[in-house]
């Protein structure tokens, strides 16, 4: 069954002193995917700026703007409507043996290579590889990875930073969704499964009524290629994502999907106030 969600994602920056100019990129527009249809979207910026849109290397919709008037706050609002259903998939599954061939590894090299965010200690990578080697089904192998993440990482904010790598998160044993995704990606790649980072929103209400608003959250999860791409959410221990998940961007790691990035000249910024309001509309 399909439903329609409205997402209002606001980000508010306040500066302790005037900012003279800033250059910004926003990745906050949901994608079109096989289970997600983008019905409408808009991005509004205050102070007003002219917005420039393009689609980046990974096919993410990017909104760019620069500001040249003095300002001491910046508000970004992304409003979108999407129609979602649970991903159905075709059920195609490769055998682990089919995934070690040179052609396969080359075609997916982008999602098998280690990035700065997805580095993990060699011993962990090797131990994971050894522990799945006897399993014939790719999904069993992935289950081992998900169990490892569960056993070695606990959800707690404020310990890792936005710049923390998978190695650092594993080192302290705590992290947020970004860290869970990076650790899972690193382990999947270490067992030869192509994996990518997904950013988006998670609707917290499993049985929403039409017109009912909930406070959602920006979220990150993972896709693995097993013959087709399948989504899973390591921070919530969810094996298969469903229509609660709204996809915005996909990439090799957080760096490819950063929702807001840019540089500015002027006063210090306090941490942004981010709110995500999600409402079922149909």
């Amino acid at each position: 069954m399909k439903w329609r969600l409205e997402i209002i994602h606001t980000t508010k920056y306040t500066y302790d002193d005037d900012v003279f100019s800033s250059y910004n990129e926003v990745r906050m527009t949901p994608k079109n995917t096989s289970n997600q249809l983008l019905l409408s979207s808009s991005i509004a910026v205050s102070p007003r700026a002219s917005l420039y849109n393009y689609s980046d290397y990974f096919g993410t919709s990017v909104t760019y703007f620069d500001l040249h008037r003095r300002h001491n706050n910046l508000d970004i609002t992304s409003l979108s409507h999407v129609e979602l259903e649970d991903p159905r998939g075709r059920g195609v599954r490769l055998t682990p043996a089919a995934m070690i061939g040179d052609d396969f590894r080359d075609a997916f090299s982008e999602y098998l290579a280690t990035t700065t965010y997805t580095e993990i200690p060699k011993e962990i990578a090797e131990a994971t590889y050894d522990s799945v080697a006897s399993l014939d089904l790719i999904e069993d192998r992935i289950a081992v990875v998900m169990d490892f993440v569960k056993a070695n990482l606990a959800y707690r904010s404020g310990i890792t930073k936005v710049s923390s790598s998978a190695k650092e998160a594993l080192g302290v044993g705590f992290g947020v969704c970004q860290d869970f995704a990076h650790v899972a990606i690193a382990l999947l790649r270490s067992i030869g499964v192509p994996a990518r980072y997904v950013s988006g929103y998670l609707y917290p209400n499993t049985d929403p009524q039409i017109g009912e608003s909930s406070t959602g959250e920006s979220h990150a999860w993972v896709e693995a290629f097993v013959g087709e791409w399948i989504g899973m959410d390591p921070s919530n221990g969810v094996d298969r994502i469903n229509k609660l998940y709204v996809t915005v961007a996909k990439g090799r790691d957080y760096n490819d999907v950063t929702p807001f990035r840019g540089i500015y000249f002027g006063g210090q910024s306090s941490p942004p106030i981010v709110t995500v309001t999600m409402t079922r509309r149909a």
């Binding site: 250059y23 420039y52 290397y57 620069d66 040249h68 490819d256």
Partner: protein
Amino acid sequence: MTSPFDLYKENAGAFDEFIVNSNAQDENWLGLAKSIENLGLSELKRRAIEVEQTQSARGITFTVGGQERTFPLDPLPRIIAYDEWNKVELGLTQRIAALEAFLDDIYGSQEIVRDKVIPKRVIANATQFSRPAAFPLMEYQMRITVAGLDLIRDEKGELVVLEDNLRTPSGVSYVIENRRAMARILPELFENYEIEPVTDYPSRLLASLISQAPSQVSDPLVVVLTPGIYNSAYFEHAFLARQMGVPLVEPRDLFAKGNEIFVRTTKSSRRVDVIYRRIDDEYIDPVFFRPDSYLGVPGLVNAVRAGGVTIANAVGNGVADDKLTYAYVDEIIDYYLHQKPILKNIETYRLEDSDVLSFVVENADRLVIKPVDASGGKGIVIGSQATDQELEEVKAAIVANPRGFIAQRIVNFSTIPTVVGNNIEPRHADLRPFIVSSPDGRYVVPGGLSRVALEAGSMVVNSSQGGGSKDTWIIKGRSRQRIATSSQLQKNSQSQIAIDLAKESAQ
């Protein structure tokens, strides 16, 4: 009178450009030797020192480790025959045309990967593959406006490609300044030889840059963007701006607004149409690359993407300089142009194949191992000259990261007579030709920068590592006033004149 060339003797195994050509009775090389004999080596050196002093007084320098140095010019020119050069020129334009198509493709639909001519990983895992640059250019824009390739002459005497430099190659200012200096050191030879001119370069570059301005602009503003006076090639940036008659700007002089770029002036600001930039990709736009870069112009990449400004060279060319990409250039030429490569590569080992990797590890002492993404000779290990410890370290490094390196056979590249102390001795030299591309065609500077390793036997020619340079002469047709060196030579020349006349009348 004895000639300073009497004692000249080539190094064993290397192709010496003077010995081979004078043995073949090449009148240009023999004429050069004769002139030096007439002049005397001490007079040649006296003139060279005089010119070098004026050069450093005029600020023709580069900076190494914060110290300004002149780039020593050897007063003996290198001569390349016109016919050979014609072939090299064709080879260079062919190679650049193919690499331009390659860059367009990999920053677009990546058909070469889809067709399995190049493995995906060669591109996707290249450190210089720039995802922010993955957008199509406008039809009036080039990715490789300026290329500076490094060639060497191998043991058989053939000029082969050592590496491609498609980012911000430098050295062309020395080509032009060396020519001016040589006209003062050996004016006699300039009267006798018809040397192909190199001074067209700035106007050719300017014409290319203007032709790449956003199309609605009638009187485009071109600027040269330099990181500033501490950059090792600052002299060249200032030189080219002056020669082209365009402003030399630093990043802080430029700003982006609404996908256009402006230069601050004392009164207000002016829109910039074309930026000839000499700042590396990594520093050019802190929105995308290093956010800590003060050298960049934030917003520049998106201004280019939106068509508001042209930058030359384009962002992302480094992936074609990757030495693993180099190993595929023959395939690249075949794929895009359906042609056979005119210029050869040096045989290169791709280490991702585990058999090749173990071969290279076993034979590291006989090979040269290079990091794929470094320039200026950094990180290169020449097996035959490395210590045991250096060899062990590089072996461990290539085993840990085979994608990060390539190996090549050690080429004992050619030597050229060079003034060393009170003698003339053979020294190894490479050649960096420069190619300017525009939507209308390509221009190759006749000759290029010959860089000489000043230490005996050394093969390190980089200016940053103590190399010198030579003026490179492409000599066209006949010398106007023939220099008699032997009756045999005269006889040859006369029959050659007869052939030339026959050709002329045939046209």
